[in-house]
Symmetry: C2
Subunit: 290 residues, 2 copies
């Protein structure tokens, strides 16, 4: 057991799944939950995800060895001052947000001498479901967790959080903060925007009922992520504004090229684009299944 | 047995799966295949998909009760004159193309008095795999097949093709030609363009290796259709140019609105878009699983 006392602020899909996984791995002793809703916390106790809870952050974290912030991005930043006041000098703090630059900046401005104990993290896992009821002990198995430690980050703290995620079954890698946000803008945030835009666009068409009626399997797969939590994605958009807008601009250039190729009968241009894409997607699939 | 002799021109995933399904349902007697590649035809015989074959269209169809054209769109149109010359006055002809306006126009100009026996069809089924090796007897079970008969289409011919697809397990509906092409542009052709554009766009980025390395499950689902056959999609684009370009324009307006909302911090606009899309997607999912 490497963490005697773990506190989870925001006991949802990610926080709940991490607690389950660490219990199973016997990596953690006591788990204390903290949430805005007491109902959620009671459910988490019933489900065996946490041992006890407090609605007050100070109470929940004051004796913790490790604090995991699992709240939505915008809320995490707002909670930092309170957490900073309540955590001990030796407590290691980590988060699970999908964008790292904002939280790192906020933590640097709030945590002062405790900033060295903050290990920014991002587990690349999840489903389109939310809440502690959806939490799974194997959610992170064979999934990547990206940590984005900065110059000031204490190597010992980083090592503990690395071990923690490994115990949950994850494959842990380190990336530079800015690089993380650019890569995720392209690979996750952009596709979510496209799925939301597509579904919203079709839902607004005159033939909307028929459109959804005749949609095939490809459409179902393609738009699954449009069922994701709107509030969470709203936060991600603003938090990763710069990289996401850039990714959207690059994408728009590409889709416009395809449109022009169709309009102007540029047969080779279109075929080459489709072939390049297929090749890249097939390669991705092969490596994923390796 | 309702079809004594069925000829399939283009024995691939769709044609092969239809033959398998009709044999299983004992809806068909003899099945003759016709293909450009003799190797494919030999394999189809080995697999028990067809009984015999000919490389010559005239030989393959001259005594058929029903001819199914399963070749790619552009090829189907080119084969029509030869088929018209070879089919008997009572033979019913159908196709499986994803766009209907082009083939209907070509058939009207080529088949003359036999045009009444052409029943344009489009099974909404398939995988990203190709070829007779990938054919499945249950590919069409619980999938929709859209028929787009026109004014001249003989009701008896339409009834036979409807029964044929029902025997293969499909749910058959009729749509107007133009309407079919508009609905499919939105629900299938547009998503394929987006998936191709996204993968091609990411593959061209500087961080391409990391982008694909850190891609999560959502990305895999979202881009699965980018593994589809480039030649087939090239044909679909040009065949459904007008409706597809319009769908691309509507989509571009939507994605641009999202980009502007992110840039200008239009919080409500963004949240409303995501909520509308989630609601439409959740509704689609519920109805699909009903």
């Amino acid at each position: 057991m490497l963490i005697d006392h773990l506190s989870i602020i925001g006991v949802g899909l990610i926080g709940g799944s991490l607690a389950r996984a660490l219990r199973k791995a016997e990596f953690v002793g006591r788990v204390t939950g903290c949430n805005r809703s007491e109902e959620t916390l009671k459910k988490a106790v019933q489900l065996g995800v946490i041992d006890d809870y407090s609605l007050d952050i100070h109470e929940a974290v004051k004796k913790s060895d490790v604090i995991v912030v699992g709240t939505p991005l915008a809320i995490s930043e707002k909670l930092l001052p309170k957490i900073a006041d309540s955590m001990s000098a030796n407590t290691v703090l980590t988060d699970v947000g999908s964008v790292k630059s904002g939280i790192v900046k906020a933590a640097r401005q709030t945590l002062f001498e405790k900033f060295c104990n903050f290990v920014p993290g991002h587990p690349i896992a999840g489903t389109e479901k939310n809440g502690v009821e959806a939490s799974l002990e194997d959610l992170f198995v064979n999934h990547r967790v990206i940590l984005t430690p900065v110059e000031e980050t204490c190597p010992k703290a980083c090592k503990l959080i690395t071990e923690m995620w490994k115990a949950a079954g994850a494959d842990v890698v380190n990336l530079d903060v800015q690089h993380h946000d650019e890569v995720l803008a392209a690979t996750s945030h952009l596709p979510h925007m496209l799925a939301y835009a597509l579904v919203d666009c079709l839902a607004g068409m005159q033939e909307r009922d028929e459109i959804f009626k005749y949609a095939a399997g490809g459409f179902a797969d393609f738009t699954r992520i449009a069922s994701s939590n709107p509030e969470m994605w709203h936060d991600i958009c603003f938090s990763n504004r710069q990289a996401l807008v850039r990714a959207l601009e690059i994408f728009s250039t590409h889709i416009n090229k395809i449109k022009v190729a169709i309009e102007k009968s540029e047969s080779n241009e279109l075929l080459e684009t489709f072939r390049r894409a297929k090749e890249a997607r097939d390669k991705f699939n092969k490596e994923k299944n390796r």
